[in-house]
């Protein structure tokens, strides 16, 4: 296929996607001339180009469609469901031929292929209006000025200047190179020699690598709107089949997601929307009886939250009866009576993701086999995401998919067990427990063949990584099982006993060969900063292999009662986690403990004092091309007595696991005195604004309880974090309203 045809196919496919969206919108907004023009433009462009490329079948069909659309635009026809159906058939026909050209290079599989029936339908629909005059008829192949459209559209011209089609293979290759750069950066940072200026060089490499990675990541991003575009049509067709009245609305279509991930969630999202139409939204008469509008509403909402993209499928349908789900699960032997007795309503609802579980009394061609939600859950977990459901019986259901922004480079904790290094993805890590500071015999007890850890007020099943992986353990090593990494995956929480910890790293995920993938316990491998290879552990597979059942060990959900916090979240949700740091007190040698929500911390940098700039007495920092203001409440900068014990430069997320890791000293003689700055974001305005906080040191990341305001406690919000009181940074006040509660990790 020549380049011109390839270009035509790509453009036509994009145009047809837009057309699909516009057609379903047109049904709701028949008077919207812009929608009609957009549809007309697509068909007109296809027709115009096909005549040039000599695809006569496509041209003939497009011409018939254009005649129908012309009659509509001229007001000779009105928008009816039948007309929209006809136009959707036209779109399907055009798409089918374009796909055929794409795959075979020809527009016909057989010489006899034609679209007579569809053209007849379009003509019939057109004849329902006034017959167009002969002068309006345009013979196939004629480039016509009568379409009334400018040959080049103002919007599309400017769009073309801003966008560029890039082969996904090229992007993959770029991402691979960036990965290599990240690894080199890691190695340089860890092997820092004493050479003069090396530290600055390494820091510069760090900055360039981060920025390059971000640029490539952005290039791979595609708006979720591309994925959402097919749903109006799908919902319309399904609603007709199921005899429902359903409207679909979108929010956050501009939210970007990595191309690979976008493809990965296509099926789960389709299943979820189908389920909402078929099982969620009630028939119109039932809705009216329930005091709801006859037309049901499905809302697809997408937004970014701390390194993840959250997609919610919200319907105002009948909701899911949690009791019925539990009953069905018990009938199928998925839950024991004991387990059932301990389950919360939230736990019961999550059972809908179990394979083969369906509440539908009948199997239709749309759903009812109990496969859909299993597919949703499995596919999302495959790409490192998670799914949860909330539902109020009679009111509606919210299905929440959470997927990482990118797959290739992920923050991870590097652990040691049996003399080998393994990487644990951060998204599954809740906290780390250093058993050396406890009497481990007292906190770990044996129950049958299982060990459990007393962690605060709960019992945590323990999996020993060396035993699980049959690692050859040297008895002389005294640090066996010194740490417990508390992991959570699919609602299952367990402690992974490991020997030692290395500092967290951003790791580049490299795929394993099919044979090793089939072992089902490693999700990949990576090269660490010290050059070693670490296997990346698949946390779900570890739990499965160790025989952990999902239900009994699930953690009670943590609900935020405050306005704007309408979601049930897991305790490690960064929205509820706080970064705890210290500020030096001005006139004393004491330090004040402060806290700021983890979600607002973008990065923590340790920089030489020379990197700080001053303008009009205000301290500033150049960060990723912008000048950000620094807050220096402890006046650390003026005193120039910054203590070097601070965390190394690392993304804020990696800190969420560093609870018990002693921050390594990063003082480098060649770079002189350093200062630790937390780069944060204020999000009270529509456009997030960055600022920096100069801190004495970062202590840890932990969940906490926001104390209720009272005159006795003063005007600053306070939080109780790990049994200590911390003053909450005022940036938090703008993000929450009073009464929002942060619940402590159980």
């Amino acid at each position: 296929m020549d380049e011109l045809t390839k270009e035509f196919v790509a453009e036509s496919q994009e145009g047809l996607e837009r057309m699909e969206l516009c057609l379903t919108e047109l049904e709701h907004r028949p008077a919207d001339e812009e929608l009609l023009s957009e549809i007309f433009r697509t068909v007109h462009t296809i027709k115009g180009t096909t005549s040039f490329l000599r695809f006569t079948r496509l041209e003939t069909l497009a011409h018939s469609g254009e005649s129908l659309l012309g009659a509509l635009r001229d007001g000779k026809l009105t928008v009816t469901p039948e007309l929209i159906t006809g136009l959707l058939c036209l779109m399907d026909g055009l798409r089918m031929i374009v796909t055929l050209i794409d795959t075979t290079g020809n527009e016909c599989e057989l010489p006899s292929d034609n679209d007579a029936a569809l053209i007849d339908l379009l003509n019939k629909l057109r004849n329902e209006g006034d017959e167009p005059s002969p002068s309006q008829r345009i013979a196939p192949g004629e480039e016509h000025a009568s379409s009334g459209l400018p040959s080049s559209l103002p919007n599309s011209a400017s769009t073309q200047n801003r966008t560029l089609r890039i082969d996904v293979d090229t992007l993959d290759s770029m991402m691979n190179l960036v990965g290599e750069l990240v690894l080199t950066r890691n190695q340089i940072l860890q092997r820092a020699p004493n050479a003069e200026g090396f530290s600055d060089l390494a820091r510069r490499l760090d900055t360039v690598t981060s920025d390059l990675r971000e640029s490539v990541r952005q290039a791979r991003m595609q708006p979720l709107g591309h994925l959402f575009a097919k749903f109006p049509r799908m919902v319309r067709d399904l609603a007709k089949t199921c005899e429902r009245r359903v409207r679909i609305e979108f929010e956050g279509q501009e939210t970007g997601l990595d191309k690979t991930l976008l493809e990965a969630i296509r099926d789960p999202l389709t299943h979820a929307v189908r389920n909402s139409v078929d099982h969620g939204i009630e028939p119109p008469d039932q809705r009216i009886l329930a005091g709801k509008p006859a037309e049901g509403l499905i809302r697809l909402r997408a937004f970014q939250q701390s390194g993840s993209v959250v997609i919610e499928i919200i319907d105002d349908g009948s909701g899911i009866p949690a009791g019925a789900v539990l009953k069905k699960a018990m009938e199928r032997g998925l839950v024991s009576v004991d387990q059932a007795a301990r389950m919360s309503e939230h736990d019961m609802l999550q059972l809908i993701f179990a394979p083969g579980l369906s509440l539908s009394p009948e199997i239709t061609h749309i759903s009812g086999r109990g496969v859909g939600m299993d597919v949703v859950s499995t596919n999302v977990q495959k790409v490192g995401g998670s799914v949860e459901v909330e539902s109020v019986f009679g009111v509606g259901t919210t299905l929440r998919l959470r997927v990482p922004l990118t797959l290739a480079i992920v923050p991870a904790l590097v652990v040691r067990s049996g003399g080998q290094s393994f990487a644990l993805p951060q998204h599954s890590l809740i906290e780390l427990v250093n058993l050396q500071s406890y009497n481990s015999d007292a906190v770990i007890e044996r129950v049958g063949t299982t060990e459990v850890l007393h962690l605060r007020d709960s019992l945590l099943p323990i999996i020993r990584l060396d035993k699980l992986l049959q690692l050859q353990v040297d008895a002389a090593v005294g640090k066996r099982g010194s740490y417990i990494a508390v992991m959570e995956e699919c609602g299952r929480r367990f402690g992974l006993a490991i020997d030692d910890l290395n500092p967290p790293e951003e790791i580049v995920v490299k795929p394993l060969s099919g044979l090793l993938r089939n072992l089902g316990i490693y999700s990949g491998a990576t090269v660490l900063g010290n050059g070693d290879i670490a296997l990346i552990l698949d946390v779900k597979a570890i739990a499965d292999r160790a025989g952990h059942k999902s239900v009994g060990e699930e953690v009670a959900p943590h609900r935020c009662d405050g306005p704007g916090c309408d979601s049930t979240t897991t305790p490690n949700d960064p929205e509820f986690m706080m970064v705890v740091y210290e500020l030096s007190r001005r006139d004393a040698h004491e330090h004040v403990q402060m806290a700021i929500p983890l979600a607002q911390v973008e990065r923590i940098e340790t920089l030489p004092l020379t990197a700080i700039q001053y303008t009009n007495g205000r301290s500033m920092l150049q960060y990723r091309g912008e000048l950000i203001l620094l807050e220096d409440q402890g006046e650390l900068l003026s005193k120039k007595t910054v203590i070097d014990r601070a965390v190394t430069s690392s993304p804020a997320q990696t800190l969420s696991t560093a609870l018990f890791i002693e921050a390594p000293a990063t003082r480098n003689e060649s770079s002189g005195t350093t200062v630790t700055i937390m780069i944060c974001q204020r999000t009270e305005t529509s456009r997030p604004r960055r600022f920096g906080i100069v801190v004495h040191r970062v202590l840890n990341v932990s969940a906490g309880i926001l104390l209720p305001e009272s005159a006795e406690l003063g005007s600053f919000p306070l939080a109780m974090i790990q049994n200590r009181v911390a003053t909450v940074h005022d940036a938090f006040q703008s993000d929450t309203t009073s009464g929002a509660t942060l619940q402590e990790v159980a």
């Binding site: 080998q420 049959q470 050859q472 099919g514 490693y522 290879i533």
Partner: protein, 171 residues
């Protein structure tokens, strides 16, 4: 007659092989199947992997699976560093490694010098070997590169998949 003709005729009748040593035995593999030979390499062991998997190694941005020829031949595994031959699966373009004790060098042989496998070979050897070369210094067993792919080995069902306990590893 052009000068290229004799060269191509020579290429048609001769074959370049790479001579390997494992547990005191000599083996050969067609040199054009070998992408690279990595000396003094210790692949990282993979816990729970079948015993014939020596481990994984980083090679030009990819993580390669390396098979242990010792284990495939039923010899005792040794913990010291060895040579890794990097091969490519022509069907999938996936690269993989074969760990051997050492590589003795390259040798050019006549294609006629090959003898078929002896009929008394065990099934594992029959699967791995593809004839014998008669050389001045004795017989060299020819390995079948198409059967040395990790998935082929696994699917053959002839080799013990029992994992061996893996100890600490250092490059």
């Amino acid at each position: 007659m052009t000068s290229a003709e004799p060269v191509s005729k020579v290429q048609e009748t001769t074959l370049m092989i790479c001579i390997l040593q494992v547990d005191g035995m000599r083996f050969a593999i067609d040199a054009n199947c070998v992408c690279e030979v990595l000396g003094d390499t210790m692949p990282r062991p993979v816990p729970l992997a079948p015993g014939y998997i020596h481990g994984i190694l980083s090679y030009r941005g990819d993580i390669l699976t390396a098979l242990s020829l010792r284990k495939l031949l039923g010899s005792k595994a040794i913990a010291s560093k060895g040579c890794v031959l990097v091969l490519t699966d022509q069907e999938t373009d996936e690269r993989f490694g074969i760990v051997v004790d050492s590589v003795a060098g390259l040798m050019t042989l006549s294609r006629n010098a090959i003898e078929p496998n002896p009929g008394s070979l065990d099934p594992q050897s029959t699967f791995l070997f593809n004839g014998l070369y008669r050389t001045d210094s004795g017989l060299v067993v020819r390995l079948n590169p198409h059967h040395l792919k990790p998935l082929q080995i696994a699917n053959a069902g002839l080799f013990d998949p029992t994992p061996i306990a893996t100890a600490g590893w250092a490059q």
